[in-house]
Symmetry: C2
């Protein structure tokens, strides 16, 4: 770092704060920025600030949105009786990409991770509870991630609502499409057997 | 992408223009930006724009610098008789980190890559030629990358100056420190033999 000029050092330090960006990647990005046109860099800088200025969380599902209510919750064609619970907006985006889900969402903005100090109070569970209490919800699909944090979060939500007349389901875990069984880990194989269904 | 609000889509598109950042990584970074404090995001945006405003290329070695002449070229303790030629500023930074080089540098800002349309005219070779012609240079250390582009560039520079009373050297290629021979590729092994020296 010491050979870089001060503004470059500062940029590298700011970039290295981003998740998954180490100092080497930050230096590579900074070198790219140095070569990019001023116009391109200003566009990037503006889009960063604009996102913070224009985006809030949807009042219903907490998905980041330009509007008070996001385009999914505002869409009369979406089924409000089914709520798909996800950890983060990128999971919601992945499900939307698939094009197979016509219900609505709830974004928790995290998953249980006690060792990182993330407990139930850090997740947007109060809003979910309220949606269920307000009525009209028939199914919660727990689409938290298939890992220890996501599983614990799914279990927590299942317990929260277990006394309500509500169907609570978990997305299937199994071998990924296009994969080859010989490269699939044991945990996934065992899940694919556990989640098996009649043909 | 279609489930994201417009400003988020725009940010993802801008981030995905960065080298090595695909659409998935861009979406992950955008989600982080959404959660980061406005203050942090503004600092990042400012440091991007500041770099473009404040940084120019050193008049001597073409290393990005806040000054007309970079701190290395301006340092009277550095040996001007030895010029280490590198492709990019990050290679210069890596050599400086090692702390073993007391000479000066020349940054080519690229390497020969005919298939990508990068020929000798796209590299900062004219400036290097002028430095050599101005006299006082005794050695060029070719520290272009140990790959096909870097090798071709080193060869080109070697030919450019072959009729001058100038020592031209190439950094050694061989097995990396801390590595294990059984994991080293054949090309590297063969280079480590080619570059061997008496003990």
């Amino acid at each position: 770092m010491k050979s870089y000029a001060q503004p470059i050092k500062r940029l590298i330090a700011e970039l290295a704060k981003l998740p998954g960006i180490g100092e080497k990647t930050a230096a590579r990005l900074a070198n790219y920025i140095l070569r990019a046109t001023t116009d391109d860099v200003e566009k990037l800088a503006e889009s960063l600030v604009e996102v913070k200025r224009k985006i809030r969380l949807c009042r219903v599902c907490l998905n980041p949105s330009e509007e008070d209510i996001c385009h999914i919750c505002a869409n009369p064609a979406r089924d409000r009786q089914v709520i798909c619970v996800v950890e983060e907006p990128d999971a919601l985006a992945a499900i939307e990409e698939s094009g197979v889900f016509a219900g609505t969402y709830h974004v928790l903005h995290g998953a249980l991770a006690p060792l990182d100090g993330i407990g139930p109070e850090n997740l947007r569970l109060g809003e979910l509870q309220k949606r269920v209490e307000d009525g009209g919800v028939e199914e919660l699909i727990l689409a938290t991630n298939p890992n220890v944090h996501g599983e614990a979060t799914a279990l927590l939500i299942m317990r929260m609502f277990k006394d309500r007349p509500l169907r609570i389901t978990r997305i299937a875990m199994g071998v990924p499409m296009g994969g080859d069984l010989k490269y699939v880990d044991k945990m996934t194989i065992s899940k694919s057997l556990e989640f098996r269904r009649g043909m």
